[in-house]
Symmetry: D2
Subunit: 394 residues, 4 copies
């Protein structure tokens, strides 16, 4: 097994998402952290990079330096993860794509639709991969749900109920804490707070599982904590391409909910329910039958789910292993390209790409417009290039 | 303890709701089933009444006969429960109120707003009680939630998430089964199916707990099973009087949900969550604190909840005991009137009355209008007589 | 429907178990509370009886008076429930049996094995019924478990894990509270505390479901709170007639357990799990299959379980309804005797009787002996009259 | 950060435990898999080692070759993990300890007590570390429980209920499947099957959390599937050093239990409950208070638990992260020795060592003796060298 060279932008000391990426990339040993521009403060970033084992000459002070010097190397990094503040996603991602680097960009892919179009365009003109980190789709049982829909176990999907609710921004006395305040500041967060930050995970999971994207929506955005400019609670109803209805609730003021990312999918022939906080069980009810508990690691899972499991049934797997699946799939595709072969079947299909990133941003814009328009139904904008997947130009 | 005489209209053999009323009325022994017009088929109704121990001369063939003959008795029934098909609620309830009988009417109180106004008017001109059977509010922990809001434990309520989802109408092959079809037939069910049948329980519970009624709403009504004229899945967002937002989802096609009546209430100072299927536990999370499990029967419950419990902590209590609380409260108020005393403090306040019935019907009408209007916000009509409670004229 | 006359001994004001019996007997309206000797204090007992609607002349000062005067009546009570302190169970039960009254005796049936033999003898020479109140067996899903074992769904039962654990006697500072102390006083509680009080429910449920009684056991009894003379935590392993092993744990010091009566049954062909605190769901796992959730009210339950349900699926039923099943079954058998017909099939089989009462007492004695003997296996004594059921002489 | 060189013995292709070790060692990047003797078949082992990125000259055909050649290297591996069949643990572990290698040995440490004594002796005469892989103790909330006991939150521990039950050996038709049969063959598995394989995890967790080892026990071992020579279900009651009682149940025939490793600890001042299948929540009930849900990642966890968490609250962490904590702790101690400094406070204390391994084996022997002796209490043998920890000679 040959190891791939991995570069990280953002995810510096104290970052929440940084450790998760590093663990996820390490789990299967397919990537070696080879280069990084980890912090807005060049010195801190370099020091931290070195402490993580990155060679001094690849511990960069900022992403432009990294772009320039990695581009010049023979052994340039095979994959760049962009985990910076959201406002930089578009610029960095397009720059690296244009330089031919494969990119894994954190969500939300961009701040607005114009930027999302720009990333889609960059992906369309590049041969590099552009993935977006909807890491929860790496959970084996999320992939099982998707496979169940595809195989027709549920028949046509009718209704999806998707939630991502937490209560960590509920304390009015903490509203001005800088760690929280920026999320409700349009200059830093864009036009939406909790939907753009949390809710789009639920939305993407619904689309990923149902195999359908939204075409229009009606939204209500609420600011529960006085003084905020952006919503901290939202309900959105979406109509999906093949007619399913998705009811989405997301909240940052739901005291008592911790990381309430849940999905319920109801079809003609059955219904199912999954919760991120207890990710190793999936509840499935065939029409007119009893509810069954499907365990991660069950011998009769679909291959997509089985291959995403690393350890035996009953042993809890968590989010690091889910994220690791995304890195493993990327490694497989990158390696296949190097080897001049096709990646193993189905791999590309499981990696969230620029269209997925675009859908989320378009849904956010549509939701803001709908809420301002008193709940009226608003179309969700489609990208110019529908055929652009994670794989770049097609 | 003197027993009160109880009359039942509807609830004949094979009825789902009839046994629940009979058990609920029997639990505390405050009522004796003394008269009944139990079935649309007079003979069946009389036979069944006699089999239940009703004297032959009070086993009536229809409600009009019952009204006439009970009105003429010295020992007329103290309370009449109306558990007929919905289309008869208004006529029967107003007739009995006008004759001075106390009435407990099943939900939905009426088929439409005009009828709801009529019942409110009848209650306003009567001295009799008019209660509406939102029996789930009899659960001790639902009353605990209401008390917690009142005492300020949550601070101002911000967001409520209310659900009533089941999957018993999901089978398209069963859509023409008469037991199911009538619910989607506007002639029999009115203008709404699942919201009017199930969802209004969730709505009433939200209002009961929050102590606020809705002022306007935005709705999406969906017909998942082809061929139905009325909705089998709905999402409604409501703004309540004091500013809270209520997000309500109700469904009859949610395969795997059995009797998914749940309530989550999020306030400035904490959040809580309750499920009808596991009614003896309430999850409460103070802001910045740990989630706690409040058990029915806990020594530190508020009096409203403590008094609603009959057996010791840990022993499961169910819906019959919850409904029984409504009958016990009605018995207390009726007995107090007989005795010329005030009912014990708080009792009247806990009994759902005509305003509650009116709110539900008005919300259904508004939801239908909003859905037809593409999700636009619609005002929820208020009754002429806001001051009319369960107690009749005030 | 003719109502039967019911008499209650014990269960006075403030009693925990009294309200449960009264509700259970009231639920189906088959019994009218007609006579009672409710309290050790004759005046309090009479007053309370009258407040419950008992006629003055049947509000007795003590059980002997009740026995004498009811025996002399034409319309004597049809059933006597004995809910006094344990030390009186034997004397009262045998006296009423000998006078020809049907008796429902609270558990533990007696204080020791000699008394248990005496009750068995009385039942054997009487034509009256003698039931013992293992009321948890009235839960529909407990009856479902029994039926599943009988139909062979599990194959041979291998291992049963039965628990009844609570934490209400864990506070050392409360050990001298009279409400708690008597339970650990051999003079009042007999030779065992938590096993005799709580654990025997778990044991009976195991035997009821498995259809097997214990033949020998090995026990460990522990006194966790210093100063107690009797055990407040116990583990007992029992070998049952057909070879199954039952592992039983019971505790009164398990802080955080509320009413932890649970049963797990593992057989050759599947396993199942049930919890009293969530009694409306049963988890069933066929060998090599997925765990399924069986809901009370499911259309495919066995008749024993279906007939024990009163309300539709998804609506929580609780302990009062479970106890009510025992009263309903007794009413059916008593009425059948009056009518000179057979009770409906299976009814007698579901009512716990004197053999069940004897088994529990014998198991308690054996457990005490085993614990004193350092855990050695001790035979569980069998009654002289194995053929004596709830029905008396056979 | 300098990486340590890691060697693995056993854990070849198809092994269950191998992937878990490799992931656990990779998570923090402190170890590089540098050498291995992975399979009983030398060729397969070498090929698999190379496929994992091990250099050809360190892909050994068997452990003796690895011992000899690694001993001769300057850059010998820093840690050897022994994940072979149980019968080889003792010989390999003592050999590597005697050669000065730090060892992490899988459980059970040895086949019998004589071997356990031998490993303890080897550890006592060596300066190398000898850890035993009770990896479940790496879960943050297991460490939280241990800290809660230490800080006195529970007061004196009274009763512990520990379980490890699964149903994967319940199918009699599969009893002769070689994958299962060896576990019940005394020649390969030793004197105990399910207790030695699964139950000792529960026992170690109980001791780890309570901070007490067992002094004597009473056991019942059952063979539920006919034809087996060793037990597939066992109940053991143990008395611990400071007086606590541990009730342990373990089973391989508990159909429906998946990986039922659970711990309940009841003390004077509170009780707590944890389940391996949902490892991110701990239920804690202070005496006379409400049950609380403690989440992994809560800001008020004890340092032992906080430091064991890698990602933010609400994001599920699983067993790979728990095992990784053991590897991280070992890396810290090994690095500290290299650096000539003390390891960070508390680290050594958290690593299960030879005494823990010895306790388990001694408990197995005592359980077998007790069961053969009809449940009588048997002392649990103590090692000669009580003072020997994970650290070797002291």
């Amino acid at each position: 097994m040959q190891r791939l060279a991995w570069g990280l932008i953002g995810g510096g000391q104290g970052s929440q998402i940084g450790p998760l990426h590093r663990i996820a990339a390490a789990v299967d040993g397919r990537f070696v952290l080879a280069a990084g521009a980890l912090d807005a403060d060049p010195e801190r970033g370099r020091d931290f990079a070195i402490s993580l084992g990155i060679d001094e000459d690849r511990a960069y002070g900022n992403w432009r330096e990294m772009l320039e010097r990695e581009s010049a190397r023979q052994d340039r990094v095979d994959l760049v993860t962009v985990a910076t503040p959201n406002a930089l996603h578009c610029e960095i991602t397009t720059a690296f794509l244009d330089a031919g680097f494969h990119v894994l960009c954190e969500k939300p892919m961009t701040m607005d639709l114009a930027e999302a179009d720009a990333v889609v365009d960059a992906a369309a003109r590049s041969e590099a991969l552009c993935a977006v980190n909807y890491g929860y789709t790496g959970y084996p049982l999320v992939r099982q749900m998707r496979a169940m829909v595809r195989k027709g176990d549920l028949g046509a999907v009718r209704v999806i109920v998707a939630e991502f609710a937490h209560g960590f921004h509920a304390d009015a006395a903490e509203a001005d804490n800088p760690r929280i305040r920026w999320r409700y500041d349009p200059a830093l967060a864009g036009q939406s707070a909790v939907f753009s930050d949390a809710g789009i995970h639920a939305l993407h999971m619904a689309c990923f599982v149902a195999g359908q994207n939204p075409v229009r929506l009606s939204a209500d955005l609420v600011t529960a904590v006085a003084g905020r400019e952006l919503e901290d609670d939202a309900a959105i109803t979406l109509r999906l391409e093949d007619g399913a209805t998705c009811r989405l609730w997301t909240s940052a003021v739901a005291v008592g909910r911790v990381h309430g990312l849940t999905l319920q999918v109801f079809g003609e022939k059955g219904g199912m329910r999954w919760e991120q906080e207890r990710p190793n069980q999936l509840h499935w009810t065939p029409l007119n039958g009893r509810t069954q508990v499907i365990e991660r690691g069950d011998p009769d899972l679909y291959p997509e789910a089985e291959q995403a499991s690393r350890i035996t049934i009953g042993h809890a797997e968590g989010l690091p292993a889910a994220f690791a699946n995304l890195y493993r799939d990327l490694a497989e595709v990158i390696q296949a390209r190097r080897d001049g072969r096709e990646p193993s079947p189905g791999t590309l299909d499981l990696i969230p790409g620029v269209i997925d990133g675009h859908v989320s941003v378009a849904a956010v814009e549509a939701a803001v417009e709908s809420a301002r328009g008193g709940g009226r139904w608003v179309d969700v904008a489609r990208p110019h290039h529908n055929a652009v997947g994670v794989q770049g130009r097609t």
